[in-house]
């Protein structure tokens, strides 16, 4: 992969867990390749069980890759020089509940080579930033899930890292908390930091990420810029309207002439059609029959649609290759790697 400025680099990563007494083998990651450039917000997307967390765990040395590479700032996970410049928020974090948030942050700060004094100063600063100042000296066993998540973000930032990796950071937060965290992530980008966020809540990443990788069943299904991955054409249009009862029969006839049928939902009616080329004609017909147009909603392909499309057709590598070619910053050898991986036996020993 020709990306010299990449701060996170995963190449042909594969991880097979060997679990339990019977040494049962579970493939968590089949073939994941991605790179994150300095200064960008990168989204790691995919349904549950797609291999997002395992990929991140390989980056931080929590698990060892079966094969392939996972590097932070050009260093393997075992090198603590890399970890010194990277912050990490684990999925659904849980901390020492006998500590207060302040004590915990000072503890983590000292592990990240800050002096005690500096750790105290950073802890105070971050507690304010994640809005936990009032609860800072309360034992964390009394914290809500959302509060723990915010402590988690603070501990990831304690040593002012260049790169921040957040695994499912928005889960467990209420709408206000989500908004605050999204703002914080945008601030981090403004400070020049590189951020990688994993999520299955795609709309959150959609708003933040410059580039994304979509993982499906342990493989990189697509990587690239969001606008390149998403089909920006209008897929379908939905029109909602209301009409007087005496005009209804004639109106239905006119819509029938356009090849459309409406459905009644209480007082209102709805109809939908592919694309958006009939929109003007439909609105004209409705207006001509004194109908009240409530809404016209064009539906574009969302990230959800892309993931669902990928999840349903995982073996459709040609399609994936086409999309990757479309996402221009994606090298072609990834599609090739995928084809090679396809030939591997499923129960290959680790």
């Amino acid at each position: 992969m020709n990306a010299p400025s990449a701060v996170i680099r995963v190449e042909k990563l594969q991880k097979t867990y060997v679990l339990g007494f019977f040494r049962k083998k579970v493939r968590a990651v089949e073939d994941v390749s991605l790179h994150v450039e300095r200064g960008e917000i990168f989204g790691l997307l995919g349904p549950n069980g797609a291999g997002k967390t395992t990929t991140i765990k390989c980056l931080f040395g929590l698990v060892r890759p079966t094969s392939g590479k996972a590097e932070l700032l050009g260093m393997p996970a075992s090198d603590i020089r890399g970890k010194r410049r990277v912050g990490y928020l684990p999925e659904a974090p849980y901390f020492y509940d006998y500590l207060t948030a302040r004590e915990f942050l000072v503890f983590i700060g000292e592990l990240c080579d800050l002096s005690r004094k500096k750790a105290h100063a950073r802890a105070a600063e971050l507690l304010e930033r994640v809005d936990l100042k009032d609860a800072a000296d309360m034992a964390m066993r009394r914290y809500s899930k959302g509060m723990l998540q915010r402590v988690g973000v603070a501990q990831a930032l304690i040593h002012d890292p260049e790169v921040v990796v957040l695994d499912e950071p928005l889960s467990g937060l209420d709408p206000l908390g989500r908004k605050q965290l999204r703002e914080l992530i945008s601030e981090l980008r403004a400070e020049g930091k590189t951020v990688m966020i994993s999520s299955h809540i795609l709309s959150d990443v959609e708003l933040l990420a410059d580039r994304v990788a979509i993982l499906v069943r342990g493989r990189t299904a697509a990587t690239g810029r969001l606008d390149a991955l998403l089909d920006t054409r209008v897929m379908s249009t939905e029109v909602v309207f209301s009409a007087a009862e005496d005009k209804l029969e004639v109106l239905r006839g006119a819509l029938d002439g356009l090849g459309l049928a409406s459905e009644q939902h209480g007082e209102t009616f709805a109809l939908s059609f592919d694309g958006d080329d009939k929109t003007d004609a439909v609105v004209d017909v409705l207006r001509a029959h004194d109908a009240h147009v409530i809404s016209v909603t064009p539906r574009k392909e969302s990230l959800e649609d892309v993931v669902v499309r990928r999840a349903q057709a995982p073996s459709d590598t040609d399609d994936a290759a086409k999309d990757e070619a479309k996402a221009k910053d994606e090298p072609k050898d990834e599609a090739k790697a995928k084809d090679e991986a396809k030939d591997e036996p499923k129960d290959e020993p680790s």
Partner: protein, 264 residues
């Protein structure tokens, strides 16, 4: 080194905020003070009974506390997923294991000091003189606890607390019975060579905890007896060396096992 210390202090803080430990310590102090009363019941061997009970209480409670925290030490970090936050920090896994161990040892040192001080006061109340001997006893009790803690931590690096506790307690009992195992092996030698070899091998692999087993039977003001023989500081020094060698070996194994683990 600083990171090991930071993790050790946090481990100590966890123990210091654990209410169960205070009740165990309280119970131990009650037993030691109670030895005074029991000692008074025996007319002839008052001093012996008092010291035996006091020492036994100190030793058993320290071992129980060591196993109780030791088997949970690493397992709890995995169970509560706190390890997912710590390992990605710029620390080596060996620093994590050694820090946890050091924190537990610090906890145990303080507990043993509280118990030893209680025993000292009890003995003083009876106007007995055990100054140096009591110090030797305390050091020997501590050395045994150190070895048991390292065994518990080794098991904790790969097994569940229940199994770890079971195996650690088993090894503790075997370690205390090393001379007996050898004696039985010697007697069986001719008749059942296989069993004899097995018992002999076990007695050579498990740590010989009898080196640290102090009895109050013949305590003078200066010396303390181990297996009925008076010992001095030179003996305590060599016992310390034996304990440290064993502990190092166990910790190297624990670090090796813990470093190879995938935190799924």
């Amino acid at each position: 080194m600083r990171k090991i210390l930071v993790i050790a202090l946090n481990t100590f803080r966890e123990a210091a905020r654990n209410k169960v430990l205070y009740s165990l310590l309280f119970f131990a102090v009650v037993v030691i003070v109670g030895s005074l009363a029991f000692g008074s019941l025996s007319v002839r061997d008052e001093r012996r009974l008092m010291l035996d009970l006091g020492l036994g209480g100190m030793s058993i409670f320290s071992v129980v506390i060591a196993i109780f925290i030791g088997v949970n030490l690493l397992y709890k970090e995995l169970e509560r997923k706190t390890v997912y936050t710590l390992i990605p920090k710029p620390i080596h896994r060996f620093q994590f294991v050694l820090g946890k161990f050091a924190g537990l040892v610090l906890t145990l040192v303080l507990q043993i000091l509280v118990m030893a001080l209680t025993l000292f006061v009890v003995v003083k109340l009876k106007e007995e003189h055990v100054g140096k001997a009591l110090m030797m006893m305390t050091v020997l009790v501590f050395l045994e606890v150190l070895v048991v803690t390292a065994i518990a931590v080794l098991f904790s690096s790969f097994s569940t607390p229940f199994l770890s506790g079971f195996f650690t307690a088993g090894l503790f009992l075997l370690g205390r019975s090393v001379p007996d195992l050898r004696a039985v092996a010697g007697k069986l030698g001719g008749e059942q060579p296989v069993l004899a070899t097995l018992l002999d091998s076990i007695s050579r692999v498990v740590p010989n905890l009898r080196y640290f087993y102090v009895s109050g039977t013949e305590v003078s003001g200066q010396h303390v007896s181990v297996s009925g023989v008076f010992v001095d500081w030179t003996y305590v020094g060599s016992a310390a060396l034996y304990a440290l060698l064993y502990v190092s070996l166990l910790l190297i194994l624990a670090v090796g096992l813990f470093s190879r683990r995938d935190f799924v």
